[in-house]
Every structure is written in structure tokens, then in C-alpha cells.
Symmetry: C2
């Protein structure tokens, strides 16, 4: 298994794809059009292609609603894919993991204030 998380890291390497995941994380499920709207400098079909690869990797799932497709973050898959890799370094950064909890607290507070989740 010399390269188990290869796919995941290749996917995460692209800034556009990471931003797509971010958007789905903070705004909740979105349509392709809504996502494409967040990338004015990119053509819609490009976003669609990214969504395809994200879907293939299991990081997002889609459900049809009429003629639009609603994409939803699968954070579980993200975590599950990253965890084994992270585990190899955990001995070194257990301190940082605690910092993560704090950061997450902040982030959650901030997000709670806006309350922008849609289509919960």
C-alpha cells in the first residue's frame, strides 16, 4: 500500500477543488450553478468537471432536483481518507491537535453567528 492516500491528495492539490469543498462546508449543499457563481473567472463546465472528480473520490454526493443537481459535502469520506495519513504524524503534533479544537470552537462560533446553512 505505498500510496494509499494518493487519490485524496491529488484531489486536494487543486485550489479550486478545495474552495468548492470549503463552500459546501460553510454554506451547505449547493447546485452547480451556485458553485460556478463563486468562480467568476472560470467557465461552468470546468466546475462541473471538478465536481465529477470530487464525486469519483467520494468527497461529495449529488442528488437531482428537477434539472439541477445538488452537491453535498461528504465530510466523513474526507476525514476517513485523511486520518490514516495523519496518524503517522500524530506523535509529533498532538499539541497542534488541541489547537485545532480551539480553532474549531472559534470557527463554529463565527459560523453560528451568520447561520447561513441552507437546505439543511
Amino acid at each position: 500500500m505505498p500510496g494509499d492516500s494518493d487519490v485524496l491528495f491529488r484531489i486536494l492539490a487543486d485550489p479550486t477543488r478545495r474552495l468548492i469543498l470549503d463552500l459546501l462546508a460553510e454554506r451547505g449543499p449547493l447546485t452547480v450553478g451556485e458553485l460556478a457563481g463563486a468562480f467568476p473567472r472560470l467557465v461552468a463546465s470546468g466546475i462541473s468537471k471538478h465536481l465529477m472528480s470530487l464525486r469519483a473520490a467520494g468527497l461529495v454526493t449529488a442528488t437531482r432536483h428537477g434539472r439541477q443537481q445538488i452537491y453535498r459535502l461528504e465530510a466523513g469520506a474526507l476525514a476517513a481518507g485523511l486520518t490514516p495519513w495523519m496518524a503517522k504524524y500524530e506523535p509529533y503534533w498532538s499539541a497542534a491537535l488541541e489547537r485545532l479544537r480551539d480553532l474549531a470552537q472559534e470557527g463554529r462560533a463565527k459560523g453560528e453567528a451568520r447561520k447561513t446553512r441552507r437546505r439543511g
Copy 2:
């Protein structure tokens, strides 16, 4: 800040570089030659190039010892770079983080058995 962790993820995208980090994590500091030895199918200068970019990203540091250069993992930088990104998803996977602790326990136990750390 639309792409703060860009560099880090680009670095981590390459399997060879990830394996270099793995080796430094589990074996401790290593020379270029020792690292290159772990990649029989690659030419030494290629490894050197990877080490340069890892160094530029702050993920490893090097100290001269005679005519060889000893590379050491900077796990702090790795954690520090990854944490802000992870924090955005923490709300979704706090469960997985606990699994991480368990995995780390196993991993530590296994590593402890071999006790292969060098140049501590």
C-alpha cells in the same frame, strides 16, 4: 487569503515527497543518500530536488555534517500549515479525530516495538 495552504497542498500532492516525510518521521533524520536509497527507481538528483522544495516549504530542515547533509522532519510546520484548513471541517469530523488518537496509539506501539529511531 484565497489559497493560504496552496503551497502545502501542492507539496503534499506528490507521493515521493510524502514518502520522504514518512521516512523522516519513522526513521528520524536521514542523509540524502539514505533517502535516495529508499527510491531505487529514482535518480538521486531527483530526490535532492524534492528535498529542496520540502525545505523551501519549511517541512524539513538540513544541517551539514562533513560532506553530507542531514535532513530532519519539521512536523511542527506540517501541523501548523494543515491545522487552519482542517479547522474548517472539524465540526464534521470530531468523531474521526478520536479515531485518530486510537490509530496513533497503535502506530506508536508498533514503532516502539522496532525502535528504529536514529540520530535522536
